[in-house]
C-alpha cells in the first residue's frame, strides 16, 4: 500500500504548486496591487470596487492610522496630521525636504540627522512608516481577495530613485511584513506589461509622468529579454507640480489672499479636479467662494493651463534628450509607452509624440500599467512560469563614487551601468604612517562632494604604518539586482578588511527598524521569536532543497567523493536540526553549509556557461543574428 504524503503546515506538498505573488505600485498619489490569475494580470479592487488606493495616511488618532479615501476626506480638517505624497520624502534629509514640506504645510521634527519625520498627533512619523501603512492596506486587500497568504511581492520604484530612496522603500515593506522578491523600476514594469501582451521586439521608450516623479527609460526587447539601455528623470517633478502651478495662479488671480493650511489643501483638491477636467474640456470654473466666501469664481482655460505647465513639460523633454543620448541608439524608437495619470494631459501627449516622432501607446490604463507589469514579474520570480520566459536587465540610474582628496568625487560605477555590477578600484594613503582610511560613498553626477548625495561613510582600520602611497587599498562596489549597494575595502598587503551594506545617511538604522517593527500594527500580538524561527527554518529549507537538487544533478560529476560526502553529512545535520526550536543553531549551520556549498554553486555556474554556449549550434546563432 502506498503511503500518503502529508506536508508540514505551510510547506507546499508539490514543488510546482502555484504560489501567490503580487505586484505593488507604491505611488505618490495612488497605490495599486495586482496579481496574475489564470495567466492574466489584473489589478485587485477593494471591497467597494475601487482599484486605486489614495496614498494618503491620517494620524489624527494616537494609535490607529487611517489610509486611503477616508484619510483624504480628513485632509481639510487635519492638514498637519494627513500625510499626502509621502513618497516625495522617502529617504530624504530635513534640509533637503524643507521646501516641499512647507508647501504641504507639514511640521517637520527638529534636528537634521537622518530621514525627515513629520510631527503628528500620533507622534513623530517617518515617511517609511506612512508608506508601510499603505503597503499594509494593500497587503490586506490582496490576502482578502486571493483568500491566501502572499508568497512574494514585487514593489515598484521610480527608475531615478537613489540608493537611500530604494532602501527606504524596502524598509517600508519589511515594516509592513511583506516578503519582497524584488524592487522593480516603474518604467521597466510598464514595458513588461506591454511587451508580453503584444510580443513586441524593438526599442521602447517609457515616458512616466506620475504625481511626484518623472522617469524616462529606453529599453530594448529581444526574445523575452528586456535590456534597459538608459534611464533618466527627475525625482521631484510631477503632477503635484502642475497642481501647485495652478494653485499659485489661482491665488494670484484672486488678489493673493492668505490661506490657512486647511484652505490650501481644499484648493489643492479643487485644482486637481480642474486639471483632470481639462483633459477633455476646453475650460473649467474654479469656485473660490467654496474656500473663501465672497470670492469670485475663476475660469481656467486650457490655453492658460498649458502655458502654466509648459516649462515643466519642457523639463521632461530635456531629460528625454539626455536619456536618448545615453542609450547610444543606432536607429529610432519603435514604441512609446505612457505611464502615470499626468500623461492623460493632451499637451503632454502631443509634446511626447512630437519629440519622438510617433504616437505613444495608451491601450493599458496609464494608472494601472506599472502594477500589472510588477505582477507579471512577481509571478515569474516566485516560480510560476517556465524558465527563460522573460528576463529583465536593469541599470543603475545615478553614478556611484568615493570622496577623494580635495573634496572631489571619483566615480567608480557610472550611471546606466547594467546591474548586477561589481567594480573595484585601488586607492592609497596620502600621509606617512597612516593606519586608517575613511571611505565616503557618494551618488550623483557632479564633480564635487558638496554637490553629491552622501550615502554612507565607514573606516578601514589596521593598515600597517607605511610611507605615503605605499599601501594598496582595494575598494569594491557591488550593486545587486535590486539596485542596492554593498561596499568593501581591503588593504592588499596585510589583508585588513572592512565592509558595509550601505545604510544611507538618510535611511533608518537597523535598530530603528527593529524598534518600529515591534511597535508596528502588523506584528502586534505576534511572537517575535516564533517569527524568527519560521524565517530561519524557511532559509534552511531553501538551502536543503536547493542543495539536494544540485547534488542529484551534478554531485557525481562536479564533486569528488569526499566533497560530496562532506556536503551530504552537513545537509543531514541541518535537516535534523531544522525541526528543533533552536533559532541560533539553525542559523549557524545554515550559514556554514551555505558558505561551504558556494564553491559547488560556482562550479555549477561555470558548467551553465559552457552549456549555454555549447547548447546553441553555430547555425542557430547565425540564423538569429540574420533576423
Amino acid at each position: 500500500m502506498a503511503l500518503l504524503q502529508i506536508a508540514e503546515p505551510g510547506q507546499s506538498p508539490v514543488p510546482h504548486q502555484v504560489k501567490q505573488a503580487v505586484g505593488i505600485d507604491l505611488g505618490t498619489t495612488n497605490s495599486l496591487v495586482a496579481t496574475v490569475r489564470g495567466g492574466r494580470a489584473a489589478v485587485l479592487p477593494d471591497r467597494h470596487g475601487a482599484v486605486m488606493l489614495p496614498s494618503v495616511v491620517n494620524y489624527s488618532a494616537p494609535d490607529a492610522a487611517v489610509v486611503g479615501l477616508e484619510a483624504q476626506a480628513m485632509a481639510a480638517d487635519h492638514p498637519g496630521d494627513t500625510l499626502v505624497s509621502v513618497k516625495r520624502f522617502m529617504g530624504r534629509g530635513r534640509n533637503d525636504a524643507c521646501a516641499d514640506a512647507q508647501r504641504a504645510h507639514y511640521h517637520l521634527a527638529e534636528g537634521d540627522q537622518g530621514m525627515v519625520r513629520f510631527v503628528t498627533s500620533a507622534g513623530e512619523i517617518s515617511p517609511v512608516q506612512a508608506s508601510a501603512e499603505i503597503l499594509h492596506t494593500l497587503h490586506e486587500r490582496a490576502v482578502a481577495t486571493m483568500n491566501s497568504d502572499i508568497d512574494g511581492a514585487v514593489i515598484t520604484v521610480p527608475a531615478y530613485f537613489d540608493e537611500a530612496q530604494r532602501q527606504a522603500t524596502k524598509d517600508a515593506a519589511t515594516l509592513a511584513g511583506l516578503p519582497v522578491l524584488r524592487l522593480l523600476n516603474e518604467p521597466t514594469a510598464a514595458a513588461v506589461a506591454y511587451g508580453l501582451d503584444s510580443a513586441e521586439e524593438g526599442v521602447i521608450a517609457v515616458y512616466d509622468l506620475g504625481g511626484g516623479t518623472f522617469d524616462i527609460s529606453i529599453l530594448r526587447l529581444h526574445r523575452g529579454v528586456f535590456e534597459v539601455l538608459a534611464t533618466g528623470g527627475d525625482t521631484a517633478l510631477g503632477g503635484d507640480d502642475f497642481d501647485a502651478a495652478i494653485a499659485d495662479w489661482v491665488v494670484q488671480e484672486s488678489g493673493s489672499p492668505s490661506l490657512t493650511p486647511g484652505q490650501y489643501r481644499q484648493l489643492q483638491t479643487m485644482v486637481r479636479a480642474a486639471k483632470e477636467c481639462l483633459s477633455t474640456a476646453s475650460g473649467v470654473a474654479i469656485n473660490m467662494a467654496e474656500i473663501l466666501p465672497g470670492s469670485a469664481a475663476i475660469t481656467l482655460s486650457r490655453e492658460t493651463f498649458e502655458s502654466l505647465i509648459q516649462p515643466l513639460v519642457k523639463c521632461t523633454l530635456r531629460a528625454c534628450r539626455r536619456c536618448l543620448r545615453d542609450a547610444q541608439l543606432d536607429a529610432g524608437i519603435d514604441n512609446i509607452v505612457m505611464v502615470g495619470g499626468s500623461t492623460r494631459i493632451p499637451l503632454v501627449r502631443k509634446a511626447v509624440a512630437d519629440f519622438f516622432g510617433r504616437a505613444p501607446l495608451t491601450d493599458i490604463d496609464p494608472d494601472q500599467v506599472v502594477a500589472i507589469g510588477a505582477a507579471i514579474q512577481a509571478d515569474i520570480l516566485v516560480g510560476n512560469r517556465p524558465e527563460g520566459d522573460l528576463l529583465l536587465l536593469d541599470v543603475i540610474p545615478l553614478s556611484l563614487g568615493l570622496e577623494t582628496m580635495g573634496g572631489l568625487v571619483e566615480k567608480i560605477v557610472p550611471r546606466n551601468t547594467t546591474i548586477p555590477v561589481s567594480r573595484a578600484q585601488e586607492f592609497t594613503t596620502f600621509k606617512d604612517g597612516q593606519t586608517a582610511l575613511a571611505v565616503h560613498i557618494l551618488q550623483g553626477e557632479r564633480e564635487l562632494v558638496a554637490d553629491s548625495r552622501s550615502l554612507a561613510r565607514f573606516e578601514l582600520r589596521g593598515i600597517p604604518p607605511m610611507v605615503a602611497g605605499a599601501a594598496r587599498i582595494l575598494v569594491t562596489f557591488q550593486v545587486d539586482a535590486d539596485g542596492l549597494l554593498n561596499v568593501s575595502a581591503r588593504e592588499e598587503i596585510t589583508g585588513a578588511q572592512s565592509s558595509v551594506t550601505v545604510k544611507p545617511s538618510f535611511g533608518l538604522s537597523d535598530d530603528e527598524i527593529a524598534g518600529m517593527l515591534q511597535a508596528s500594527f502588523s506584528h502586534a500580538g505576534e511572537d517575535k521569536l516564533a517569527r524568527q524561527l519560521a524565517e530561519q527554518r524557511l532559509a534552511a529549507r531553501q538551502l536543503v532543497e536547493g542543495l539536494e537538487a544540485a547534488l542529484a544533478a551534478d554531485g557525481d560529476t562536479l564533486l569528488d567523493a569526499d566533497e560530496c560526502a562532506a556536503l551530504r553529512a552537513q545537509k543531514t545535520e541541518l535537516q535534523t536540526l531544522m525541526v528543533s526550536d533552536d533559532v541560533d543553531a539553525i542559523r549557524k549551520v545554515t550559514e556554514r553549509l551555505g558558505r561551504e556549498s558556494e564553491a559547488f554553486a560556482a562550479r555549477r555556474m561555470d558548467k551553465s556557461i559552457r552549456q549555454a554556449l555549447a547548447g546553441v549550434s553555430l547555425d542557430a546563432l547565425d540564423e538569429e543574428v540574420k533576423e
Binding site: 526574445r223 529579454v225 535590456e227 528576463l391 536587465l393 548586477p420 567594480r423 551555505g594
Partner: protein, 180 residues
C-alpha cells in the same frame, strides 16, 4: 566571499576569437544567453548563498559585455591581455600633426556659440570627428594584428582624445537644443 573562479578572458567567456573585429549581433545573442542562465532573477527562490554567487557571475558577464561592446574599451582590453596597462598606454608619444588637428577642432567647437546658425557646422564637425575615430580604430586593428603594440596603443590614445571631443560636441548640441 568566493568570487567566480573563471580563469578565461572575456572573449573566451563569450566564445569569440581574441581580436578587434567583432560581430556585435553575436555578442548580443551570447550575452542574453548567459544572463538567461546566470542572472539572480533565475535564483529568486534559491538560498542566499546561491543568490550571492549568481550576483557575482552575472556581474562578471555584465563587465565582460560592457568591455567588449565598445570599440575603445575592447582595444584597451586587448592591450591589457598583452600585459600593457593603462599607464603605459597613455604614455605613448603622439605625433605633433595630430595634436595640432585636435587644437583646430577644439577651436571650431568653442566658436560655435558665436554663430548665427551653428547647427550645420556642428553636424559637419561631429561627422568629421566620428570619421576620424573610425580611421584610428582601423589603424588600431592593423597595428594589433601586426603585433606592433606601441602603434596600437598610440591609436587608442588618439581615440580617447577624439571621444572626449565628441562628448563635448554633443553637450554643446544639447545645450543649443535646450535654448530653443
Amino acid at each position: 566571499m568566493s568570487t567566480p573562479d573563471f580563469k578565461q578572458n572575456y572573449f573566451q567567456l563569450f566564445n569569440l576569437p581574441v581580436q578587434f573585429a567583432l560581430d556585435q549581433a553575436q555578442l548580443g545573442v551570447r550575452y542574453r544567453q548567459l544572463q538567461g542562465e546566470l542572472h539572480p532573477d533565475r535564483y529568486a527562490n534559491a538560498s542566499d548563498h546561491e543568490q550571492r554567487v549568481a550576483v557575482q557571475y552575472s556581474a562578471l558577464v555584465n563587465a565582460a559585455y560592457a568591455t567588449l561592446r565598445k570599440p575603445l574599451a575592447r582595444a584597451l582590453y586587448l592591450l591589457e591581455l598583452t600585459g600593457m596597462g593603462q599607464e603605459e598606454v597613455s604614455s605613448q608619444p603622439i605625433d605633433g600633426g595630430f595634436l595640432i588637428e585636435q587644437m583646430e577642432l577644439r577651436e571650431k567647437l568653442e566658436s560655435m556659440g558665436a554663430l548665427v546658425d551653428p547647427d550645420p557646422v556642428l553636424d559637419h564637425l561631429v561627422t568629421e570627428i566620428s570619421g576620424d575615430i573610425k580611421m584610428h580604430q582601423d589603424e588600431f586593428a592593423a597595428a594589433y594584428a601586426a603585433d606592433s603594440l606601441p602603434s596600437a596603443a598610440a591609436a587608442c590614445v588618439k581615440i580617447q582624445y577624439l571621444e572626449k571631443l565628441l562628448r563635448e560636441a554633443e553637450q554643446i548640441e544639447s545645450d543649443l537644443m535646450d535654448k530653443m
